[in-house]
C-alpha cells in the first residue's frame, strides 16, 4: 500500500461531502472537520460532488484508457543502463522522441556485453525512468512510453 500524504487527505476531504474525517496511517493521524457554518458551502459542494463522482468515474475510465495508451518498457536482465553507446555519443532517445519499432532505446551492459534494447512497437518516449549508468534489476521499468 502506498503511503498516504497529508495533502491527499485534505484534498479528498475538500472534495467530499463529509463533516468529519479521521485518518490514522502509520505515524500519521489526521482529523478533518467541517462545522455547520461552512455547511452552506458544503451543501453546494454536495451538489457538485454528485457529478464529480461521475467525473471521477470518467477519469478512471480515462485512466484505464491511459493504461492502454501508456506503458513501461522494463529491463529483461540485470545490468547497467546506458542511454548512449559511449559517453561522447548522443543519447539513442530522449524525452518526447517518437520511436519506430526496432529502434534502439538503450544499452544494458551485463558481464562486459553490450545488450541493445530495441523498441517492440512505435512509441513516444514520455519519461526515462532509470538514471544513466545505474544498476537495473530484472523487470525494472526503464522508459515510460505512449503507444502510438
Amino acid at each position: 500500500m502506498k503511503d498516504i500524504t497529508l495533502d491527499e487527505i485534505i484534498d479528498k476531504f475538500e472534495d467530499s461531502s463529509l463533516s468529519e474525517l479521521d485518518v490514522s496511517y502509520k505515524d500519521l493521524h489526521v482529523i478533518c472537520k467541517r462545522y455547520a457554518s461552512a455547511s452552506t458551502n458544503n451543501e453546494t459542494s454536495v451538489t457538485y460532488t454528485a457529478p464529480q463522482i461521475k467525473e471521477n468515474k470518467e477519469e478512471t475510465s480515462c485512466k484505464v484508457e491511459d493504461k492502454d495508451k501508456y506503458k513501461t518498457i522494463n529491463s529483461p536482465l540485470v545490468g547497467t543502463f546506458y542511454t548512449a553507446p559511449s559517453p561522447d555519443s548522443p543519447a539513442f532517445v530522449k524525452q518526447g522522441d517518437k520511436i519506430a519499432k526496432g529502434d534502439t532505446l538503450c544499452i544494458l551492459e551485463a558481464m562486459k556485453m553490450m545488450n541493445e534494447l530495441t523498441a517492440e512497437d512505435d512509441y513516444t518516449i514520455v519519461e526515462i525512468l532509470s538514471p544513466e549508468g545505474a544498476l537495473v534489476e530484472y523487470d525494472q521499468p526503464l522508459f515510460k512510453v505512449k503507444c502510438l
Partner: protein, 438 residues
C-alpha cells in the same frame, strides 16, 4: 566493508545473511519475481530481482547473478545449497569475473563431479568403496563381465550425474542390456554425457556422511558424521550426529581417510563425503562439494558456525581449520519441515527455548509458492543423548505452529515416536516400512 551476494533463496539465504551480519559483511539478496516478499530479501542490506519465478530464468540465471554481484560491487558470491552450488562452470564464471566463489575451486568441483574419478581418488586415500565402478563401461560385454565379478544386485550410474537420474538397479543378468540402454539415454538427456559405471548395489544401507572443513592450504578438520537414514524417496527427513551405528573405530577410519582425501584435493571450504553402511560394509558414495542442508547438526556437536567458517576461509581470514579437529559433544538432530500444500502462512510461531534452534524463512503473512523446494524450516535440537534429542524434538515440534498450509509436522512427530526409529536399528527403507503407521 566487504560485500557478498547470496545466489540462493529460502532458509539457507537467511542463514547466510545472519553469518554475514555476524562478520560485519554487507549482504546482497537476490530474488525471483515470485519471491519479492522473501524474508531474506527483507533481511539483506540490498536486494536485486534477477528474473521471473521459474528457477532456470532466475536462481539458475548465471548472467544475471554475476551481473548483480558485479554491479552491486560485491567481493564474493555464496552459492548456498542446490541451484548452482555444485556447478563447476558457475564457479569458474564467478572466479573469471574477479569475484570470490565461497566454496571449493571450480577444478575441485569438476573432479568431484566425475563420479568415477572421485571413486578412484577416494580409494587411493584409503576410504572404503563398493566393488566396481572404477572405469566407464565400454559396452555390454564389458558390463556383463563387471557385473559377474561384483555380484548381483548391481547399480548402473551416470558418471557425471546425481539426484537419482540415470540410475538403474539390476537384479539379474538378463536385465542388464535394457537397463544399460535406459541409463545411457537418461544420462545423456540430463547430464549431456552418457558415461556409465557399475557398482555393487546395497539393498538396506544406512546413509552416513562426514562433515569436513578445509582451508585449501593443507589444513583439514573433521566434524564427525551425520546419519541421514530417514528418507522418503531419497529425500532426507531427519538427520543426526553422531550416528547410532558408527563406532569409534569406524569414525577414526573415516576421519583419517577423509582428511587425506581432502588434503590431496587441496579442498577449500565445507564439504561432505557420503557413504552407505550395510552390516560391516561401509562404502564411499560421493563428495558433495558444498555446504549441505543438514549442516546445523554438525554445528551443534562441534560448536562451530560452518557458514561463518566458509566465508572466513574464502576470504583467507582466520578460521578454525588451523586448529585441531574439534572435540564433538553430545547429540544433535534435525527435522526438515516441508510444505504439503501452497498458500499464505496465516500464523507462524517457531519453537523456542533451551537447546532448540529453528532455521527458517517463514513469517506470518508470507506466501508459499509452488515454484521451489518445499522445505519451510529446519528444527534442530541438541542434548546429552540421542533419546534426549528425540524427546526435545517432539516437544519442539508440538510447540511449533504453522497455519494456512499443510506440513509434515505431525508426521515427523510420528516418526520420532516410532519404536524402530527410537531403537536406532533401521536403514533407508524405514520410511517405506512405517509409512502406513505414521
Amino acid at each position: 566493508m566487504k560485500k557478498v551476494l547470496i545466489a540462493n533463496r529460502g532458509e539457507i539465504a537467511v542463514r547466510i545473511i545472519r553469518a554475514l551480519k555476524l562478520l560485519n559483511i554487507s549482504s546482497v539478496a537476490v530474488y525471483s519475481q515470485a519471491d519479492k516478499d522473501g524474508l531474506w530479501v527483507k533481511m539483506a542490506d540490498q536486494s536485486i530481482c534477477i528474473g521471473p519465478a521459474r528457477s532456470s530464468e532466475s536462481y539458475l540465471n548465471v548472467r544475471n547473478l554475476i551481473s548483480a554481484a558485479l554491479l552491486s560491487r560485491c567481493d564474493a558470491i555464496h552459492p548456498g545449497v542446490g541451484f548452482l552450488s555444485e556447478s563447476a562452470s558457475f564457479a569458474k564464471e564467478v572466479t573469471d569475473s574477479g569475484l570470490i566463489f565461497i566454496g571449493p575451486s571450480h577444478q575441485t568441483i569438476a573432479i568431484l563431479g566425475d563420479k568415477i574419478e572421485a571413486r578412484i581418488l577416494a580409494k587411493k586415500a584409503g576410504l572404503p568403496v563398493t566393488p566396481g565402478g572404477f572405469e566407464p563401461i565400454r559396452d555390454l560385454d564389458h558390463l556383463k563381465k563387471e557385473a559377474a565379478l561384483i555380484g548381483y544386485p548391481v547399480i548402473l550410474k551416470a558418471a557425471f550425474g546425481g539426484g537419482g537420474k540415470g540410475m538403474r538397479i539390476v537384479e539379474k543378468e538378463e536385465d542388464l542390456e535394457s537397463s544399460f540402454n535406459l541409463a545411457k539415454q537418461e544420462a545423456m538427456q540430463f547430464f549431456a554425457n552418457d558415461t556409465i559405471h557399475i557398482e555393487k548395489y546395497l539393498t538396506h544401507p544406512r546413509h552416513i556422511e562426514v562433515q569436513l572443513l578445509a582451508d585449501g592450504n593443507n589444513h583439514v578438520i573433521f566434524l564427525g558424521e551425520r546419519d541421514c537414514s530417514v528418507q522418503k524417496n531419497h529425500q532426507k527427513l531427519i538427520e543426526e550426529s553422531p550416528s547410532p551405528v558408527v563406532n569409534e573405530k569406524l569414525r577414526n577410519t573415516l576421519k583419517e581417510a577423509s582428511i587425506k582425501l581432502f588434503k590431496e584435493l587441496k579442498y577449500k571450504g565445507a564439504g561432505t563425503i557420503e557413504f552407505l553402511v550395510e552390516d560391516d560394509l561401509c562404502c564411499f558414495m560421493e563428495v558433495n562439494a558444498r555446504i549441505q542442508v543438514e549442516h546445523p547438526v554438525s554445528e551443534l556437536v562441534s560448536s562451530l558456525d560452518l557458514i561463518k567458517e566458509m566465508i572466513q576461509i574464502a576470504f583467507d581470514n582466520k578460521n578454525s581449520c588451523t586448529k585441531p579437529s574439534p572435540k564433538l559433544k553430545g547429540h544433535a538432530m534435525e527435522v526438515r519441515i516441508n510444505a504439503l500444500s501452497c498458500g499464505v502462512i496465516t500464523k507462524f510461531n517457531p519453537p523456542l527455548g533451551p537447546f532448540v534452534r529453528c532455521d527458517t524463512h517463514l513469517y506470518t503473512g508470507v506466501n508459499i509458492s509452488p515454484f521451489y523446494d518445499s522445505m519451510l524450516a529446519k528444527v534442530i535440537v541438541s542434548g546429552e543423548t540421542r533419546m534426549e534429542c528425540i524427546n526435545r524434538m517432539i516437544v519442539a515440534l508440538k510447540e511449533m505452529e504453522i497455519e494456512g498450509i499443510n506440513t509434515n509436522i505431525q508426521q515427523s512427530i510420528n516418526i520420532l515416536s516410532n519404536k524402530q526409529f527410537k531403537s536406532g536399528k533401521y536403514d533407508t527403507t524405514l520410511y517405506k516400512k512405517i509409512e502406513k503407521e505414521i
